[in-house]
Subunit: 314 residues, 2 copies
């Protein structure tokens, strides 16, 4: 019988690149540079809640880390370390091999050391804590949005929730975008590289995990401002416009794109860092003094929308 | 319907004492002092694996944090911050109120800020990451044991595993120690105060979570040494000796006492910090050059023992 120590040794122990003491003692030790602070975030992924049964384990390994990286990107910080706690119904070596491969593919791409965690028996769930460095007092908060700021988003919205609806048999997708939507759901790309430059130019930032509206509302509430968006400017697949299924763009979770606000004068710099990091960015509206969220149609009319995003307990 | 945001707001948001940015953004921000390193450890507790169904939620809240604090104590570090990810089958306000009360009772006693986490639907499980500070290069590692070191343990061993066996109907306990054993199982006291002094005087340290033998063997393997223990010196209830049920002392998990090794010349200092922090400590043997673990009976004979401790997958 393989023990939990052997699982860690075989699948989760890798050479550390930036860690004083890695896996194998009661705790890991890291050194945070002078004049830097540590950004920390934890996320838990549960089978049948956050991912479907029989999800490709390699994709799951990637996504588990990617969704955490997205939180660090949203702080404008540089991710460096992660812990991984995983509970498994039984030891399945094929599954573990694929899961760890996907996890480390993501870890290596974004420069993360896996420094510790836990392995135990239980219903399949994955709990990650991610840590990154941010220059002292330069973290990008939800509370920093200023009146007249441009509102920007990265990538395209709604892909992941369309992919999920398709896999659940609730949405038929044109063949040309089906795989794109499923890939957005299963192996999202965290906006780590753009995030690490954003603190210089943006005033506030959040990652879109619960849907555009709900996440934007977190910024508006924390910053005590409102916003006006142009529906047609929100970057999404043409299919959304032709089918009028805007709920995927406005309320769909799991996108892991960044939503940030920045002064108008910073437009050229934002375009420059977007180009440098190969990250598509789009302006979708602006921050208003009036504390309300307005979404305008092409005809300039306020559209009605569901104010709620994704909530696991709803 | 209560949302995950309302749960966090109502039960898990407290005033921060030592945290730059706490619960409520994409990540928390902390500042690690110059010349200090950060010790990080993660543990996951699952219903029916790590705790029995219907465990008192207040005790569970305490224990979830306590077992993590124990890892930081075993590094000789000072715990300061924790993240808590919790999955719940449904929102039960009575349960949440009690759980958070127990959690914060422990957090307040040991000076911990809860800085973030996640709340989601799923089978009951609790995943905590704990962080503490340790002076640069002063962390107590498993690999530091030296030949001729004394071997010390805190408290009494075997109580928690006797409590569990009793609750599971596998062990009848004398009434005078039954409650003591169940309390050791459900609300263990992490040796945080002693741990924070130990790095000056000890050479190696581990917390006893998987049983004395298994955890001592981690030290022996990492330090490339052996050990000799005197069975009768291991601190435990008299019941163990009269019933000869030494497996609870040698292999019982969940004790969360500290096992540490220190040079003989440090005996007076160790007794002093033990007294100062009100922590019982006992010498149980010494580190040997011969790479084996020997446990001697009162008659000086090597006793046979099960080399394995607790393994969730065994």
């Amino acid at each position: 019988m393989t023990s939990e120590f052997e699982i860690i040794e075989r699948y989760f122990k890798k050479k550390m690149k930036q860690t004083a003491l890695g896996v194998g003692d009661d705790a890991a030790m890291i050194h945070v540079r002078n004049n830097y602070q540590l950004a920390i975030s934890s996320d838990m992924l549960i089978e049948n809640i956050h991912f479907l049964k029989n999800t490709n384990p390699s994709h799951l390994g990637w996504k588990s880390l990617a969704v955490n990286l997205s939180d660090i990107a949203a702080m404008g910080a540089i991710p460096k370390w992660a812990t991984l706690s995983i509970s498994l119904p039984k030891i399945n070596h094929t599954w573990l091999k694929k899961f760890s491969k996907g996890f480390f593919k993501c870890a290596d791409k974004f420069g993360i050391d896996l420094i510790g965690g836990d392995t135990t028996k239980g219903p399949l769930s994955i709990s990650i804590t991610i840590m990154g460095e941010s220059k002292k007092d330069e973290a990008l908060l939800r509370s920093g949005a200023k009146i007249n700021d441009d509102i920007w988003v990265t990538g395209q919205l709604g892909l992941a929730s369309m992919g999920l609806a398709n896999l659940q048999g609730q949405l038929k997708l044109p063949p040309r975008i089906k795989m794109k939507c499923i890939r957005a759901l299963e192996i999202p790309t965290p906006k780590t590289f753009l995030g690490s430059y954003l603190s210089r130019y943006a005033n506030s930032c959040i990652d879109i995990s619960d849907g555009l509206i709900q996440d934007l509302r977190h910024i508006l509430k924390a910053s005590k401002v409102g916003a006006s968006l142009l529906l047609n400017d929100i970057p999404c697949e043409k299919f959304i416009h032709t089918s009028k299924q805007y709920q995927f763009v406005l309320n769909g979770g799991d996108d892991y794109e960044l939503l940030f606000t920045a002064a108008k004068k910073n437009r050229p710099f934002i375009k420059k860092i977007a180009k440098k990091t190969n990250t598509p960015v789009t302006m979708i509206g602006n921050i208003t003094k009036k504390k309300a969220l307005n979404i305008l149609s092409e005809q300039g009319k306020s559209i009605k929308f569901n104010p709620k995003g994704f909530d696991h307990f709803a």
